[in-house]
Symmetry: C2
């Protein structure tokens, strides 16, 4: 008889005993990558954006040319042309010059800021600038979003739409991911029947655990239901160990049946624990057969589900290198956040080292912010911002 | 030029203008039902469990026969046999009798409680019961989990493993669901190129929005990228309106391009708003063409994603009858919750009418609790329970 251990001990033991298992990798097209797990760091081999871009419709300028400009004394610049969207701005802006430019357009060399059209007047070739622009104002610099050589996405990241966006920005259309582990599911119990007669019930666990495994990013090998007979369970386990990466045996609710599962695991491999000090889920079993983890789960569906959610899923995360990180649900602001009165505002946030929330730079055209954020917060339409220390709800991206 | 409206107004207007759209339905096998949305209430036409069951290994008894029993004065009952798992207990227990029974076994008629084996001694045909059993102690009554005629799952429910469990319990292997809406995605912009040259960038929005639509339960018709030219966009929109249930046009970041999108929607149908008082996402457009919703999204990926997440997803939820309900992340207990010292405990909870948390009855063998819960809470191993009013974190099931 094996000892009852705590959940932390169980999770650590499972991680230790499965640490040497290296999941296989494959490449999938970006259109099928949602929900998969990255098998390597994605290092950018280019700058995103690949050129300085404006974030407004207006004029690209040399900031120094606008210093001191105001409504009374506009700066006067020569409009030397227009950069069309998607066009290579392969000329150099000289002092005293500006060019018309649309949001997302490429800045010519020399230009280091952009002025919004509403702060300008254009009369013939002359552009009047009514507002001083600071260097880098209204522009996204080359590499601002993702720098060349930077780790844009980490190995073990579960791919969400945000990561799909980063992959698309980098032109990575074939995505390196871990193969989905195959989880075999055996449901045992003499009372289980597809057409239940008095005293019998339907098989719930095969479907419940299959969908839980699918939701956790696995493929499923449904062995189906077997009777609580040693030879039937043993032959099912042998078949599953051969065909899958891990095996779940649910059922055997009676003490005798549970001991049988432990005996079978010990006969074919080695059982490491039988019993976790948690409720529900006490009669959980873990062992290794031919290098593959085998879990004995309670027969009651609710208990089986909790064991999947709290124990088996830790093995899945571990073998796929998925970090345990889960977005927080609420947090406290690390800084004051000003906002535009009159517009409801949404900001991506991440946690700093003190677990406080920091708003992420959301300059137009930036995509990496989405994948860096743990979620977003909302500033109501009539708020004038949010103060440091405010507790806010974090919404899922 | 259309007026800027608030997000609430935008969402309501979209719901109003798409209220008459009735999504098609289909049946899918339970193995493919995860993540789909139920198109009708699931009414149980049987009781779950279909018979009285014990939740322990031990003896089925008539509770009254055990009243007053204790270690000093055990009740003495005749053991008249054993009910094996899956067996029909088609006899009646008489006063003074008991039968051996395993967890999940069927109670014979007359029996109304079960006593755990550890509180008994069996000598020959005589069973000594050292503990009084209350009526219904250690048993699950017929229909306790799901009653015949009860709505087990509601129309509009997004199917999680918990719901899969309930469907399996009821033997519903062909599940009625709404067909996935097809969302067409058009990315516009003269700067977009698969092989970007200076001044050009890659198409991010097609991939970002496709995966967001997929995650929201839709199928995607990727039209791809088109230039900011009226005839190109117009022909793309016509094609998409024909092939999809809704159309997203992202891009046209410049004011002129955005106006062109409004013009095209107005030429082919009717635009209802252009501009939402939210940041990011101001230049959002909504209209209807041939009875199908058409959304104009900003070109910046981050802004496009927020508009999808906050505006387009509301249309998807509305058309699939998905209730806006999202599990809470933390809550306050409505009652004291006692616990077993020494075991870490997990409990399913739901919210009462005051938004406080109520622990759900988790008697063994109950599956409906999983689908009723908004999540689960944890009672640490060394806590002696949790007091009413305690704020607790709610974990996702």
């Amino acid at each position: 008889m094996l000892n009852v251990i705590t959940r932390e001990e169980a999770v650590n033991l499972i991680k230790e005993k499965t640490a040497h298992i290296i999941p296989e990798t494959e490449k999938v097209n970006i259109s099928f990558a949602l929900g998969r797990t990255l098998s390597q760091d994605i290092v950018s081999d280019e700058n995103i954006p690949p050129f300085d871009r404006t974030t407004v419709d207006g004029y690209a300028v040399i900031a120094a040319d606008t210093f001191g400009a105001g409504n009374a004394v506009p700066a006067q610049l020569d409009t030397v042309g227009e950069v069309l969207m998607g066009e290579n701005a392969d000329f150099t802006l000289e002092r005293g010059q500006c060019v018309k430019i649309s949001t997302g357009g490429m800045l010519p060399k020399g230009a280091d800021a952009a002025v919004m059209a509403e702060h300008t007047d254009n009369a013939g070739g002359l552009c009047l600038i009514y507002k001083s622009a600071a260097p880098y104002e209204n522009i996204t610099k080359t590499g601002d979003d993702i720098g060349k050589g930077e780790v844009a996405l980490k190995k073990g990241t579960v791919i969400t739409p945000a990561q799909i966006g980063v992959l698309a920005a980098l032109g990575i259309y074939e995505v390196p991911v871990f193969k989905k582990p195959v989880i075999a599911i055996i449901s045992t119990g003499d009372e289980i029947s597809e057409e239940p007669k008095p005293g019998q019930i339907r098989d719930i666990n095969t479907y419940l655990l299959s969908s839980a495994a699918e939701k956790s990013g696995c493929n499923v090998y449904e062995y189906g239901a077997v009777k609580d007979k040693r030879e039937e369970i043993e032959s099912a386990v042998k078949d599953c160990v051969e065909k899958a990466d891990a095996v779940l045996i649910s059922g055997g609710s009676s003490a005798g049946a549970r001991d049988m599962t432990v005996d079978i695991i010990d006969a074919l491999g080695k059982a490491f624990f039988h019993g976790i000090a948690m409720k529900p889920g006490k009669p959980t079993i873990f062992g290794i057969i031919e290098n593959k983890p085998v879990f004995g789960l309670p027969g009651h569906p609710l208990a089986a589900y909790f064991v999947f959610r709290l124990i088996v899923s830790e093995y899945i995360k571990s073998v796929l290198n998925i970090s345990a990180y889960k977005p927080e649900k609420s947090g406290v602001l690390a800084f004051n956040i000003p906002s535009n009165h009159g517009r409801e505002e949404f900001l991506c946030v991440k946690q700093n080292e003190n677990n406080e929330l920091v708003a992420l730079h959301t300059k137009s055209g930036i995509i990496s912010v989405l994948s860096e954020a743990c979620g977003f917060i909302r500033i109501p339409r009539n708020a004038e911002g949010l103060f440091k220390g405010t507790a806010v709800e974090i919404y899922e991206l």
